[in-house]
Amino acid sequence: MMEPSEAALPEEPVATHEEITFKTDLSQTRPSEDPQDLDAAVRVERFSSWYGDFQALQALSFVIPENRITAFIGPSGCGKSTLLRWINRMNDLVPSARAEGVLELHGTDLLSSQADVVDLRRRVGMVFQKPNPFPKSIYDNVAFGPRLHRKLSRSETDDLVEQSLNDAALWDEVKDRLKASALSLSGGQQQRLCIARAVACGPEILLMDEPCSALDPKSTAAIENLMATLRQHYTIAIVTHNMQQAARTSDFTAFLYQGELIEFGATQQIFTKPEQRETENYITGRFG
């Protein structure tokens, strides 16, 4: 498992080269599975989405398997982020956005207008592209979500904060300064704090929208290692522009192009024997 894979990041300007260690490289170690054999966390069927007249997603059908990491890759504007924003209903903020088809989280219809959006968003954790901690203390950042949903005693909150920070592999670094401002943390620590904030609500799935694009390689490695640990407890969907990241971290990969799902399958298969011509062109860097 412990495999220093500096070779996996050939083009990155790496200042702290020797310190970067990717604990897991799933593409090498995991056997290929068929997504249809696994329990579905999110079921997507004939799912289309529009912004005004522009169709962003075209009749997608696939499942995001439970307790696995699913990566969404594709060139900019292919609809990856749109899909994520539908799963936690962030698209409610976009007035022109509308969708058709089936989108279910563990059997709950995510598109229903009767759905309790507030509860849905608690069940779906979201990590954004740029770390966005609140200008509050580290402790209050993690406790923010749980406190919204129910009253917590002091010791309950303490436990929850410690657990969540542990989940996000941040506890050891911040346990002595929980009252310090979250903005005093480094970018990578801030992003792990955002992950802790998301997992504190007990989500059923964790959505990550290019979580490492604003981070340096060392912090990226920390997040990726964290994902490998989180995989035991959470279903993770990650959007990434970094091919190596998708290959290293995910069990399954979906390739989207111009709003269509071109290919969905085990990551190892997608990156070694893609079935579609476009997929091969994209992952080998011939476009995108």
Binding site: N88, M90, L93, P95, V118, D119, L120, R121, R122, G125, M126, F128, K130, N132, P133, F134, P135, F144, G145, L148, H149, S181, L183, C194, R197, A198, A200, C201
Partner: protein, 343 residues
């Protein structure tokens, strides 16, 4: 045009008079700095001349007793005690009403901004435009509105001297047998008359647009990424506003509100309409009581024929300027002390 340029490398631009243009550009560059210096010095000069003329005549009567004494017919005995108390009282009541209404309106206009519906959006834009317009309305106009709406209440409750409703007054019989109505500190009447409350509510109208606009700007400075983060963990809109946007905007809202209050404390025109020129030698006992404020007292002194009272007016101006300076310093202090980066 472009087809004529056929040279390559460093020569390309020199053919088009680069050397000449450098001299001209440097001249314009220096000229602009000179204009800026002139503009800055002229305003500083005017300000120092103003300050000097006020200080030179006003310092004669300025001592601690001046802050405490009541107005008098003799300039050397005159003081602005009731005016200072009146200003403090009017501004406190004004802030009590203006801040919740102003910040509430700002939150509604900014955080509950309509995103769907053509007509709702137009209504929002219309309201927004009019708030900006109201900020530019001369304050005397607010004074006249205040007179009709607050002082007289459209005549719905009779006149101020014969109020339809009066709470907190009871007959008091003096030792000489005459009786009059004594008013308690919580005395309230409808219509509210030319009292502190009417003055405060009128000043509220004057500063509300400024409070709303500055609070909106403070809310707009809170990055959307924080709002998304709050919504992302399942906050309702109100939880998002009360726990994230508003706390982050508080320093900006406070700064704007304090500056608005310093405008309120310096307003003379609407107060003149509401309170009129009255010779007040006592501090207001309740919110319906007659009152005067610092600018009004200064105005009264300044229009007296006796030369000596003009010096008293200058003393009053010094006190008012000191108060305004205090308010602005407080605003700057809060901005520097509590303004934190938000992301």
């Amino acid at each position: 045009m472009s087809a004529e340029v056929t040279t390559f490398g460093p020569d390309r631009l020199s053919r088009h008079g680069r050397a000449a243009s450098i001299a001209l550009r440097m001249l314009k560059d220096r000229g602009f700095v000179v204009i800026c210096i002139l503009a800055a010095t002229s305003s500083i000069l005017v300000l120092s001349w103003l300050l000097w003329s006020i200080l030179s005549s006003g310092l004669t009567y300025l001592d601690w007793a001046f802050l405490d004494d009541v107005p008098s017919r003799k300039p050397e005995k005159a003081g602005m005690g009731p005016a200072i108390i009146g200003s403090v009282l009017v501004c406190a009541v004004c802030a009590f009403f203006a801040l919740p209404i102003g910040v509430g309106s700002a939150v509604f206009l900014e955080e509950y901004k309509p995103t769907k519906g053509k007509w709702v959006k137009r209504l929002h834009a219309f309201v927004q435009l009019n708030i900006s317009n109201l900020a530019g309305v001369p304050s005397i106009v607010y004074g006249i509105i205040g007179l009709t709406v607050f002082v007289e209440m459209f005549g719905l409750f009779g006149s101020a001297n014969d109020p339809a409703l009066a709470i907190g007054s009871h007959p008091f019989e003096a030792s000489d047998g005459s009786s009059y109505l004594e008013q308690a500190w919580y005395y309230f009447q409808l219509p509210i008359g030319r009292g502190v409350l009417a003055g405060a509510l009128t000043l509220m109208l004057v500063i509300l647009p400024v409070v709303i606009i500055s609070a909106q700007e403070a809310l707009r400075a809170v990055p959307d990424s924080l709002r998304h983060a709050a919504l992302g963990v399942g906050a309702t809109r109100w939880q998002m506003v009360s726990k994230v946007s508003l706390p982050a905007a508080v320093p900006g809202i406070m700064t704007g509100s304090i500056l608005a209050m310093s405008r309120a404390i310096g307003e003379a025109a609407p107060m003149l309409v509401i309170a009129g020129i009255v010779f007040i030698t006592y501090t207001p006992l309740h919110l319906m009581d007659d009152f005067t404020v610092m600018p009004l007292q200064i105005y009264e002194w300044a229009k007296k024929p006796q030369e000596a009272f003009h010096a008293v007016a200058a003393s009053g101006i010094i006190v008012l300027l000191a108060v305004l300076l205090g308010f602005n310093a407080l605003a700057v202090f809060i901005r520097n002390k509590f303004h934190k980066p938000l992301s």
